[in-house]
Amino acid sequence: MHPAFSVVFFTTATGAGYGLLALLGLLGGFGFIPADFWLGLVGMALALGLIAAGLLSSTGHLGRPERAWRAFSQWRSSWLSREGVASVATFLPAALFGIGWVFLGKSGGWVAAAGLLAAAGAVITVTTTGMIYASLKPIAQWHSRYTLPAYLIFAGMTGSVLANALLQGFRQGSTAMLIWALLATLAGWGWKLATWRYNDRLEIPTTANTATGLAGGTVRSIEWPHTEENYLLKEMGFRIAREHSAKLRRITQALAFAVPAILLAIVYFLPWPLSAIASMLAAVAQLAGMLVERWLFFAEAKHTVTLYYGRE
């Protein structure tokens, strides 16, 4: 599948934004993070900014962005429509929580309720994003039990590492948050390795034989219907060389998982402000690594239509 930058950025940014929003909503709402004006302001601006930038970026993928409002109508059948509804609906409790926690300096009571609802909205929205991909049968690498948990785990992971960087930046860091961010990063690493392992051994039942209805033997494409690449090949016929894929997987592992894990482990022993700088570096490296991961998620996914063009 063609890795369109608008969609790669959209899923990575909103994942991190919703992860951070969920953590702030829960930890701030229930008073685990003190209601500090500047910490709250920067944290909520970062979370909502990532979400808004991602959503705006996703409209760049549309042929007719001026009609985007129509996408809220088909939530009964479409995961994309559900994503649209959930993402906009989450802004309401998030705004209420932001007003209560940041501007009024409150936690507990209705602020906790709003924070809880914002966290629930974040989880639901990331779930709908994951299901858009997990529900697509023509793409075997996406239509697997690994896809939805991956979106949830990566949102939680990037959100946690961002939350840790935020708290460390304001000298509010805690060992619990640090360990949580480290464990989330290791969980993300494990899940990605398991997914790659699964995809590399995938035996796809759909073949050129079932695609053409020609039973038995081999079916070899000898002539395309057109001489140049058409929409189908540009959009769904994207191919990546095996050595490039292997190299990008190593870059993903280094940036998204290994470097942040090492930095977070070191943070425990560092005095402020070095701990803050290391925590922020971990977050930046991880987000860069997740952009590579998401690019690969598209680039390595193979659509059944490529079978018609002799691209196994």
Binding site: A68, T206, A211, L214, Y231, E235
Partner: protein
Amino acid sequence: MTCLPVQTDKKLGLVIDLDTCVGCQACVTACKEWNTGGHMAPLTDIDPYGGHVDGVWFNRVHSYEHTTELGGRTVNFPRSCLHCEQPACVTVCPTGASYKRASDGIVLVDEDKCIGCKLCSWACPYGAREFDTDVGVMKKCTLCVDRIYNDNLAEDDRVPACVAACPTSARHFGDLGDPASAISQLVEERGGVALMPELGYKPTNIYLPPRARSQRAAKVDAPALEPIEAEGGFLGWIDRMLSN
């Protein structure tokens, strides 16, 4: 509404005979000609005379070499929308632009509602939908809705343009939901198959596999030529000398 009808009154669709298709591309050009002025018009071409020709087509003919233990053969394979009973292209649509008609099962796109998110083309395993980069919306085969119900056309012409154009009658149109229809009988008789049945889209269009090889093939070998006698005389001697 992008929820699917529980059932449709008719299942209009095509049956394509892979045995008789000669890959002449007549259906492709007839489709393009009709539809670029039809329901989903225009079928935009990008850089049509340049080095990177691209454009929207509803029907594409591939050619394959199918090799089995009995030998190999060339199979021409027209590919277009199969008007599935379970079209995921419709259910994934966030705007309601894609829909399946309850009356005849035809899958259509309302171009005025399409936002061009392209998700329907990802959801279609058959590559039936093509994005028009110029208009910014998704386009697809309409089964020539503007021909098959068109009272202005002679009754014989009320079939999709691709069916009307086929010189070898490899394309058939009709109601596949009615077991008594000629097209359903043809599928029954020839053992028609659905494409990618394992994905569960239940395509309406059916393909007829090439017929089995005949054991009564025509004898084409000519009688053996008589041996040529060596030329005698002086010229024969020169010929033999020069041939050495």
